[in-house]
Symmetry: C2
Subunit: 500 residues, 2 copies
């Protein structure tokens, strides 16, 4: 056996399945040697925005806590997500060309193009003058079908870096037109942030380029791959920023991230293969807001999308590559809190029944309008306390004196800001509330802290991100490397050329 | 080629070196096939106590920041440690039998014996009645030499789990006697916490069991493996808890963790192989105290010890296994801070020139004795401000108003506690200061926060820990698994049996 073939075979064995099933995989390889020597034919690239080890493991510890109290001796205290069960584990640095703590545009460009760029740039060089080739474009050029899915607006930084080239992520209108001109086969998830503009209506351009726009869930689920239509799909009603609702708030008739992924697989599956990027984009937003319930549920929704890829993998084990990663950590989430020391009660996070955003939209905005609050000496009333108990599981009278002080202070700040009688936020108030509704972010802080989770920031952090992989060529994703190397590794698996 | 051999060979190729050097390694394997088919002969087990991805990557970002300002476009913003350059990367869950957030005894027992136990138990079942066999004992039984090195006291939980069996980690006297009776060949690092007790003087027992006790650095460095002496070595002067000094404070005539490791290799190297555990124990203590400078320097010192193992590996590449991991995260360290948002200036951490402990011992304790402070209206004086500037790089007049308020409040708390005029710490004060000197922990918080690092706890957290590995059998260390599996994997690499 030649050394080269021997090496490839050894990598394939390691990656096509867990080590326990090596024998089966070898048998498959023996029957279809060509599948193991060429490029990965079906490539899934899952990006959890703002998701690193803390986000993943908080979800895993939370799931375990719902089944068994953590204090029960012998009970499992972590329940693996589908992504964590992938056989290969690596770790990526995330920094941008011009900043240690990255943003989604620079991180996405690195992960899509294998090139560092500056903060805010969409798949161009740091000056914003020269476009970089993306993995999705390389796949399309090779003849593969291409799909892009996100739970935030489809013109947001992470999806955009795969099809657009703009010097600034804020150029949503131009990015929308890049989408219309991309020739890609499927876009699913959120909507467009700037439809009207100098370049003309984005939706008109999308339609003019042959896309069918679908916003009804039943129509979406009935989409037939046989028609060969290119599709742009999003939910009939969108949340702020043209994104999907947070998973914890998602109505029945809204398409989930897993459903966007599953339908994408049906639409893209073809003899020449496909490349599909799926972003869990609101994990990041929930972490910016320091809302663990929303972040965990969006992480679980993202993991359900990964499971759809695994279901496909099981039908095409020798030809499929699945890579799951994050673009950066967000919020500085930690699985502990000074006040709770060594104890945790993650199951109590479930008592929060909606996202911070939904609490504001469905209750607190209206409450502020009708409240009789006039100054800082007015305390929270029973209406508010009752709503807080049902929405966050926090019983006011069971809070510590200090927690009551924190909550009343935040309440006063929210009310004063609503009344227009508040100074702009002080340094201390920014640390307490970031740019969020003071009462609401204090509520999620209390829920999270009481359960044994905490946050240190309303921004991203510099923690590396895990890379979990399975399937064709996956062994190359182990080890510790840079996010630009991640794109290069995927390019090698696909046998396409990127930018250097 | 039979399937079994094929699989073993494939793992060996992946692990003996990085993929780029596969060809060389294969050639070595061809000349010495027995080395690639038997057990790992030289096994290094490095445990960074309280060290997970945040601790490692903070050190890496710090090193890069000393060379280039993070804002310089194109400059590398992370500099790999030796441990991060190992070719295999995995991740471990850490939870104890009876708690999600583990402690060093339960984590160490899992990592040494492959068995979960309760918090505080040293290599016994959760009830503290049945001892578990440890990797080090199994190695000794096989005829390998065994060394145990730690930067904290040698009877502390993490070193103890390899040679002792006690129902409580606090039984230092009994653990010391377990050490004396272990028959292991080398103990290096910190001293003993309870020499006198019911079982007789621990040092006498150590000597009676044939150990040479060495506390002088020159004598230590001159130790000759040819004499065959069993050795217990520690520094002539120890810090609190019989530990080594923090690396940032270490005097020239104190033996470093790397020197303990290098000498250990010399003493243990023999034809029947060795097993050596090296703990970076004060990473944890620095993180409990929320002191990033001390934590980073101890992480770097730990990495220098890893480098000693790599130097040995390069002489014995086909027979050596190096595994580097942590037992749990500590402090809830994050690489970002709400107040600094997306900016970082890790190079400023270098302006802190000593540990929190050294600041207290060499300055603040005496300052409090002679201070004229009488009540909360007394502000910090120039003597204190000058010392803070030279020790922490914090210029009082350059602090924000809110930071000055934080510092003055902490100063008052420290002085009032010293004067005996303070109430016990309130919930809020515990969140601010933990159990640490109020002024000093506020100073490290300010240094860390200004640089773009923060902490959420004075305790451990539940973040998984990375496992980095190189050498014989290292492929099995990739993926995401439990800390009990880590011990089992090492046992398989050594071809020894553990407890199930």
């Amino acid at each position: 056996m030649k050394k080269g073939i021997f090496l490839k075979a050894s990598l394939t064995i390691l990656c096509a399945a867990s080590l326990l099933t090596v024998q089966t995989t070898q048998a498959v390889g023996a029957r279809n040697p060509v599948n193991f020597r060429g490029a990965a034919k079906y490539v899934f690239y899952f990006i959890g925005d703002g998701m690193s080890t803390p986000q993943i493991h908080a979800a895993e510890a939370y799931l375990a806590s719902l089944e068994n109290d953590n204090a029960v001796p012998g009970a499992p205290k972590s329940k693996k997500l589908a992504m964590s069960a992938l056989p290969v584990y690596g770790m990526c640095t995330t920094y941008a060309n011009d900043r240690f703590i990255t943003g989604s545009a620079a991180a996405g460009t690195a992960m899509a193009c294998g090139m560092k760029t500056n903060i805010g740039v969409i798949s161009m060089d740091p000056d914003g003058t020269t476009p970089y080739k993306t993995l999705a474009e390389a796949a399309k050029k090779k003849g593969m079908k291409v799909g892009i899915v996100s739970s935030v607006s489809i013109d947001h930084a992470t999806p955009a870096v795969f099809y657009a080239h703009q010097p600034s992520r804020g150029m949503y209108h131009e990015i929308g037109h890049d989408l219309a001109a991309s020739g890609f086969d499927y876009f699913g998830g959120g909507g467009f942030k700037k439809v009207e503009g100098d370049l003309g209506n984005v939706l008109d351009a999308v339609t003019a380029n042959g896309y069918r726009i679908v916003t009804d869930k039943d129509e979406f689920l009935a989409l037939d791959p046989e028609t060969g239509d290119k599709v742009v799909a999003y939910n009939h009603t969108l949340a702020g920023g043209q994104a999907l609702y947070y998973e914890v708030d998602r109505p029945e008739d809204h398409i989930s991230l897993a459903e966007f992924t599953k339908k994408g697989i049906e639409l893209l599956d073809n003899p020449r293969g496909f490349f599909m990027m799926v972003e869990g984009g609101k994990i990041d937003w929930a972490c910016h807001a320091n809302d663990a319930r929303a972040a965990i549920e969006d992480t679980l929704a993202f993991d359900e999308a990964v499971q759809e890829a695994l279901n496909f993998y099981n039908q095409h084990p020798g030809q499929t590559l699945i890579v799951v990663t994050g673009d950066h950590e967000c919020g500085g989430l930690t699985l502990g809190f000074a006040g709770t020391k060594y104890s945790t009660a993650y199951e109590n996070i479930e008592l929060q029944t909606l996202s911070y955003e939904s609490f504001n939209n469905t209750f607190f905005t209206a409450y502020k309008e009708t409240s009789t609050w006039s100054n800082d000496s007015d305390d929270m009333d029973d209406t508010l306390k009752t709503e807080i108990e049902s929405s966050f599981g926090l019983v006011y009278n069971e809070l510590s004196d200090y927690q009551k002080v924190q909550l009343e202070r935040a309440f006063d700040k929210s009310m004063a800001e609503h009344a227009g009688s508040s100074d702009s936020r002080s340094e201390e108030e920014y640390l307490l509330y970031g740019g969020y509704e003071a009462l609401t972010v204090t509520l999620t802080h209390l829920v999270n802290n009481n359960a044994g989770l905490s946050w240190t920031s309303y921004s991203h952090t510099g923690l590396p991100v895990p890379v979990m992989a399975k399937g064709k060529g996956c062994a190359k994703f182990q080890g510790f490397y840079d996010n630009t190397d991640l794109a290069k590794k995927i390019a090698r698996s696909m046998r396409v050329r990127l930018n250097n």
